[in-house]
Amino acid sequence: MALTVTVIERRRAQSPPATVVRLAGRLDTAAAPQAERDFAPILAGGPKVLVIDLAGLEFISSAGLRLLFDARRSVQERGGEVVFSSPQPAIRKVFEIVRALPDLAVFASDEELDDYLATMQHRTTGEV
């Protein structure tokens, strides 16, 4: 399965607005150039919170890792934050090998992600 990239604007009570990029399929050498083009407008928008949803991602190679790391850098340079959610075990294994964890914020589930984003909201607004 080739890669599909879906972008969703996420607005939930108790959480800051976030841009969610849902990746599904394979982020390999063949898919990376198109994925880079798909990411460009998202990054150009300078999201405050970018959630990269990995639940549907089945495969990642170093080209894919590079893309995700570059996206993170780009968002951080503009004062935003990137979080990753729901990686499958095979993807998590690759992240672990390159010791991307725990540098990256990776949440095992949507619930964990929600909790984190809610905490972030409190941090920025001082709401309790």
């Binding site: 050498t29 170093s62 790391f69 090998i97």
Partner: protein, 142 residues
């Protein structure tokens, strides 16, 4: 003892060929009872090595031929990738510095590092005008 089954595939120097190699690898492994974890590692390593040869060996857009061989000797699987680009030993590259944040690491080196971690043995030699990278992985290990 029956000879180890093997297959080979000839590729052009073109990043689109990587997908064809992947389909070929899956087909071979399906017929040889290669478990899912091993197949995943093999697919990742073949992707990395072919991308390396195409990008850094021949160069994207250049002409060149890559020969891939797979065999299952005993409870192992062995992949060999040969090309006629300039001599280049990818194993000479230093491992990436994993102590710095992922996005601050220099470009490159990550793919071969993954290959070294996922395979049990990786070896390189240059002989008769060919780069040859051999990778082996046990099929017992998860």
């Amino acid at each position: 003892m029956a000879p180890a089954a093997s297959a080979d595939l000839t590729l052009r120097c073109d990043l689109n060929e990587v997908a064809r190699a992947d389909a070929w690898l899956q087909q071979f492994c399906a017929g040889h009872g290669v478990v899912e974890d091993a197949l995943y590692d093999l697919r990742l390593c073949l992707d990395e090595v072919l991308a390396n040869v195409i990008r850094h060996g021949y160069g994207v857009g250049e002409n060149g031929t890559i020969l891939v061989t797979i065999e299952c000797p005993g409870d192992r699987v062995r992949l060999e990738v040969r090309d006629a680009a300039a001599p280049f030993n990818p194993l000479d590259a230093a491992d990436p510095d994993l102590d710095v944040a992922p996005e601050d690491r220099p470009i490159g080196g990550l793919g071969i590092f993954l290959v070294k971690q996922l395979m049990d043995t990786v070896s390189y030699d240059y002989e008769r005008g060919e780069n040859r990278l051999s990778m082996e992985r046990s099929l017992r290990r998860r």
